[in-house]
Amino acid sequence: MMRIKTKLLLLLTACLMLAGIGCGAPPATEETVNIAAALSSETGDDCYAQARLPGAIRFPEDYGPHKRFKTEWWYYTGNLKTREGRHFGFQLTFFRQALDCRVAQGESAFRTNQLYFAHFAVTDTQNKQFLSAQRMNRGSLGIAGAQALPFKTWIDDWQAAQVEREEGALRLTARARSQKQTGSPEFSVSLTLTREKPMILQGDRGLSRKGPGPADASHYYSFPGMSVRGTVTVKGESADVTGHAWFDHEWSTSALGADVAGWDWFALRINEGPKTGTDLMVCLVRRSDGTPNGYGFGSLSRLDGSIAILSESDFAITVNRTWTSPDSGRTYPAGWTIRLTTYGLEMKVSPVMEGQEHTGMFPYYEGAIQVEMSDGRGRGYVEMTGY
């Protein structure tokens, strides 16, 4: 999946670094630029590695970071509910960005050419609350990093780590402190994710093409339908939850071409009806004029673990409704119909609540969605950028 375009990723970085209050901060003045933003300006890609070979992914090494590639992320999204049926959505993403393709020289343990940052969000559907927080650290000294064996990626005390000796189980922990400036309360998750289904190597054996250029590709694999168990705490109130999550790990250097504006990405799981246990991911890459660039992609994982890799021709997404953010003023789609004729699927998709937008200098929408079908229901996550 090519979720976040490099350029936009960089912008995200910049806005994260601004001031102390994350993306709520005013943009830099015209004449000057903050040091952190200055550090994220683009450099040549000449000495980075490029994603070009299908079938190159090996485990367990590829659980870990690929520092010679410019960008990389470990992406966890999922829908949870309490015993009483109260719904929560969560997103925890660890990004890695190389600041320089050359290896850092020098004896100080602070030396690094890697930058890590993370986004953490909880959607509290019952209270119509969307809570989000960010972290960013240099990838040295042990304050942030990623490793393959045992798998772990972390920033400060936020982490996704393999549960001891169980390759298929993962512990996610993140706690966002209350923020005086935004009035955002403290919230946290402590979740155990267990692999229930086979991994999907996206695209051509893990090489996912995003555009016509030879370098417009990423290495990309996913764990669909991971079962989740744990607690969600909002404002000191903890709730035991269960549910399902989707995991992506993707790395690349220059995956997207110049005329790409953004993308719409969906990950859904059917949990009622005859198709219960089906996990679907579809993504459209949009050009500046709003039309798909023809390199849309997706995958389908059935209950029995069988997998189908999808291309843009396999699915159609139509927008039924839109929503305009009062914070950023951007208008996002807020209701879709997704059809996969070949697989006999037609679903109406809508956000569980409005306003699941990460606001700030580079706003994007990452929110929990609900799925209605003639013969069932489901939950999922949508990500929309470039609006």
Partner: protein, 872 residues
Amino acid sequence: MRLSPLIRTCFRSSKAQLLRTFLLIFGIALGVAGVVAIDIAKISVSKSFELSTAALTKRATHQITGADFTVPQSLFVRLRTHLGLHKTAPVIAREVLVPELDGRTLTLMGIDPFSESHFRDIRFRTGTNGISQDSGDPRTVMTRGDGVILSGSLAASGELGVDSALTLTFGGREVTTRIGALLAGGDKNPAFDGVILADIALAQEILGMGNRISRIDLVLDSDAETARVRELLPPGLTLTKTEDRNQTIRSLSRSFETSLTAFSMLVLFMGIFLIYNTVSFSVARRRGLNGTLRALGATRQEIFLSVQAEVLVYALAGSALGVGLGILLGTGAVRAVIATVSDMYYTLTVSRTHITFAILLKGVLVGILAAVGSSLMPAVNAANTRPVTLMQRSASESRLSVYLPGLTTGGVLAIAAALIIFNWPGASVNLVFAGVFLIFTGGSFLTPALVALITRGADAATVKFSGRHRLMPAMAMRNVRRSLSRTSVLIASLMVVVSVYIGIDTMTRSFRLSIVHWVDGHIGGDVHVASLDDLNRSLDKTLLDKILAMPDVRAVSAYNIHRAFSEASGEVHIFSYLRDLSKKEWTWRSPGVKRDGDVDRLLEDGWIIVSEIFARQNGLMPESQDASGGLFVAMDTLRGPETFRVAGIFRDFFMGGGRVVVSRETMKTFWGHDDITAMQIFVHGEADAKKSAVQRVMGKIRGIDRNDNAPDETPGSALLKIRSGLDIKQSILAAFDKTFLITSALQVLTAIVALTGIINSVMALILERARELGILRACGALPSQVRTLVLWECAVSGFLAGLLALPLGAFLSWVLVHVVNFRSFGWTYDMHLSGATMIQAVAFSGTAALLAGIAPAFRAGRVDIVKALRTE
């Protein structure tokens, strides 16, 4: 307008007296300039402190620092990964000297740019495409450690730019790096004017700090968080509120502000006196003209207003000139003060000259008010001038004798009021300054009576011996008395200036004497040994025995130091001695303590002794002791807060929050140090024998150091800092002298003020007496004899001013020493009134007056007899 012809007449008359008009304007200008300059210095120092502290620690609520100036970086990692405190930033900061920037002291500051968003806002200029081209490449600088970042204005001051080489000197080491990028200048990064910014990795490598950093800045939102951080702290590390820490720095700033305020007051007084002196003479010399105008029908009001209008014009001109001059002087003063503060006390990363409109306005107002106020009496006199036809000679003199009793009474009352203020313990600093002003005013009011008294007395005592040799001095003295209304203004102004000179000189001298005394007592060792290694200050245990074994060595005082922060007094240094050989001056001792040996015994029992500053900041006053004479103070220890009993309070000039001396056992128990970090070595012999012994001992210690630490004998790898006591003493005194540079400047200013004022007055006086000098010439006095007479008059005035300045100066010294300095720095020291200063002051006063008299005397010698006799 009816006034205009009068004013025109006045100006014509001024035009005819160009030199004196110039002196009048210059006099006002000088007064205003002094006030403006010191004010600029004061506010700039204050602002620089504020910006330097506030901006660099702006949003941090707390800091973690270590007793050995470092913090392990693993603590930072634990704060992040265990406690999840992401609003934390690792900082490396160290003062370095940069030869490329005039050897300025700057702070090399290593930061983690990605941790900074909660703390500091560091900005670069943007160009058309991201960072502007001439700002360098902060990206590679920070991510690859490709050099350091400087503020654009700082680099420009040394004509440096991107890629220039930069040498950083510190602790005997020298590292060359390059300027990789420039920060946006101006107000975008005001806090970084005196900072060399680097990625923390590079700073760590440059300073060779291994895996340690200087401090951790934190934003802690709750007490619970604070408690959690405290739990995590290993021994030797302290969590302090930034506020408290800045408080100590701000109190240092206030010290300088208070002393500068005192100086600014003195300059203000002198300025007012100078202006009064100048203006009143200028108006008085117009008496004849005004008499004629009155005879021609000008009313009193018209004369009054025309005088005031003229003075106002000169006041404006003088104030404008003064403001310009003040800015010039002030800029110099700012540079001097800030360099002093940065070199000696606290590195000010921001050094801006702040010139506010308020300061300039105040300067202009002082100039105008003083000038117009000064001309009030003369203007009233001028208005009361009788028409020339009715004029009597020495009319104003007879008026003075009418005022004399009133003036004298007023003077006595003013001095009495001032004494009441000074004896009132609750008087604020401002009230004290008001008291000083009262004393000056009172002294000036008493001047005519005193001058009359002294000259009359001298005359009466010598009148029988009248003779050729006495003639000139006697005539001069009587001339002074005869024109008392003029000469007493001159003498009073000179007296004020000279007393300021005495005050400043005595303060500086007394302070220096006390410092010398203290240095001799406390840093009295002949050789000092400490570790060059910032990270590990402990000395080799065997070193002490090796040194003691040297035949030249008489005794060794070995000790260690723990740095602690307390909310009451900020940074406190706790010393524990293996053998304390310092001689202390006690300001208080626990009852029962008679000899220093008793103190040592009490220290062994867990008591402590503290310095005066520590005592004051912790409210340890002799009055606060309990019934049995016990004084107690609580300090943070490894075991939490502990209460210690104080055995004595000693006088100390250590900067910061003061010193505490404890026994070795107490140090080990409560602060966990059992090492030796420094030694003072005393050697045998006297004078030259001692000198060579010191050299031998230093050489031997160097030998031990090399053998132990650098078997390959590579030069420069020695780890000991070995200095002779003399060397240390000299550098301390050099630092002291540098600190008081501005007072020396002030003394020069007093001299200029004195000269300007007196030249003006003497010229006015001589001009008024042209006729009398003409008679002398007609009677056969040679020009040289007339010159001699004038010079005698000047000398007499100057001498009298100097004489009267003695008690006033002594008093001012007392105020500066016991009120201003105590309130500024918390130091007390004995006032040493030196006879030399007194003689110097009288000599200075007489000489200044004599010098001022030279030009008028020559003019008097050339007086046109015919014209002089004709003028009636």
